[in-house]
Amino acid sequence: MATIDTPVDNGVNTEALLGAREALGVSPEAAAFTWRASCNWVHGTHSTSTVQGFSGLGTEHQHKKTFTFEADHPECFASQDIGATPVETVLAGLASCLTAGVAAVAQHRGIQLRSVVATLEGDMNILGILGADPDVRNGFSAIRVRFDIDADASPDDIRALVAQSQKRSAVFDIITNPTAVTVEVA
């Protein structure tokens, strides 16, 4: 019986991505992107951030719509819990960046995905942010990511997929490596 080769489709246009890589090698200045967000204080620990425009490929771009993100602290912090905490948003950012990477790498490697679920945990000792113990850092002391992936691939190929996704992830890099941050007052 003849088998029918179904093309792998994870919904990722790898041809476009590879084409972009080729084009940017010729005109590297177009690769310089600037991403933006703005944030408005609402009340207490509640704030609303919006994301709309960014620049890259030598021009300005607008998202198809303005995206908003509510942030707050939970009730056990004496807040109203109107949105996720900023640190949970960081976990969400890491998860979605790695997951997008898994899909893109799988497409490139001809691996059909059926389901990808990432579960994240970040440990934090809040004595740091409370200023109660100078030896405790503010941020996460550790982050754990667990991927459950159902795909047409061997366990080693899936491990390699997840490893490559980390290697090419912007948020993973932002979290694991130092970044110079400047904050000024207008």
Binding site: D156, A163, Q164, K167, I175, T176, N177
Partner: protein
Amino acid sequence: MRTAVVVIGAGHNGLAMSRRLSERSIDHVVIERGEVANSWRTERWDSLRLLTPNWLTRLPGRAYDGPDPDGYASAVEVATFVDGYATQFSAPVHTGTTVTAVRAAGEGYEVTTDQGRWHCAAVVIASGACNLPALPLVAADVPPDVAVHTPLSYRSPGDLEPGRVLVVGASATGVQLADEIHRSGRPVTLSVGEHVRLPRTYRGRDIFWWTDRAGILDERHEEIDDIVRARNLPSPQLIGTSERRSIDLDTLAASGVEIVGRLGRIVDRVAQFSGALANTCTLADLKANRLLTRLDDWAVAQGLDGEVGPPERLEPTSITATRPVLELDLRRAGFRSVLFATGYRPDLSWLEPSVVDRKGHIRHSGGVVDGAPGIYVVGYPMLRRRRSSYISGAISDSAELAQLLHDHLDKRVSMKSQ
């Protein structure tokens, strides 16, 4: 002075080209700033051994014929081998002659040296890929009371002050120097970014027996997926010892070397390291085992399964099970030296034709330099095939480039006669 070809550098690659040109009766000179095999004599640390076994030390017309084919040559032994090679075919070497400029002139090139000028139709750059240390920007932020060393200046642990040493980079150089410095009683912390893990022996044979026989070393540059990335990979974590031991992050950690992630930056004497160490180790483990799987498949296809030992797999790197150190206050923790084993770059400051890209790398396809007809480069990592990174790569690289160079000279002659 006039000649057809000026070869710059009398190392093994320059001499292999000279030999090929002599075989073709092409008039040429080999310009050498020092002695034959100069960098092997003057720019290697004392304990250095080749990554490849002696039986792989071979050049066009000469192969290792000593008593220890499975051993690993010291730099002095390599220099002696290369020196004997130059003598064997009376290579036209001008020693003690430093090239100061190469510029286009007429239909060829003018090579200026501190001993006079040469006019030639073609130039072979054989001055090496490892003239200068490639330092990351963070090197500028090492505190002034902590000494900075590179593998080009380092000779032995005695060069370093007593006290802790931070070795940056986990290439062959980085792991070897971390190992010997730690054994000298100076506690070592090794900063590890992307790296290539390889066992010294596999199924009872040297890993180079496998990659040589299985044709992996002969994969050509056009066949390698993402050659730019491949050429920039650190050298594999190997060491040449008489007991043929493997060296990797776990063996180093077991001997007491502290393993940390890639060095990100140094702020106020505090060095910060990447938290991505676990993934860089996973990538290296998976890649090494993929290679072993490929070698096993080859062994089956060749019917070698009875001749070599049983298949093995590397254990996953286990140091990542513990949480790596992310910050070290260099002064408070007692660091006296930082050794940057972060790679090398060629010194092409004398080369005038604009043949480098925006990152300062020479643009070439398999050693044929783009935009400068008649200029060739040899001796760069994975120049024409994986083997180009090792001495034996000079055999096929020089054969093919000499053919291309000969064709170039013929084309000039036929154009003139028309």
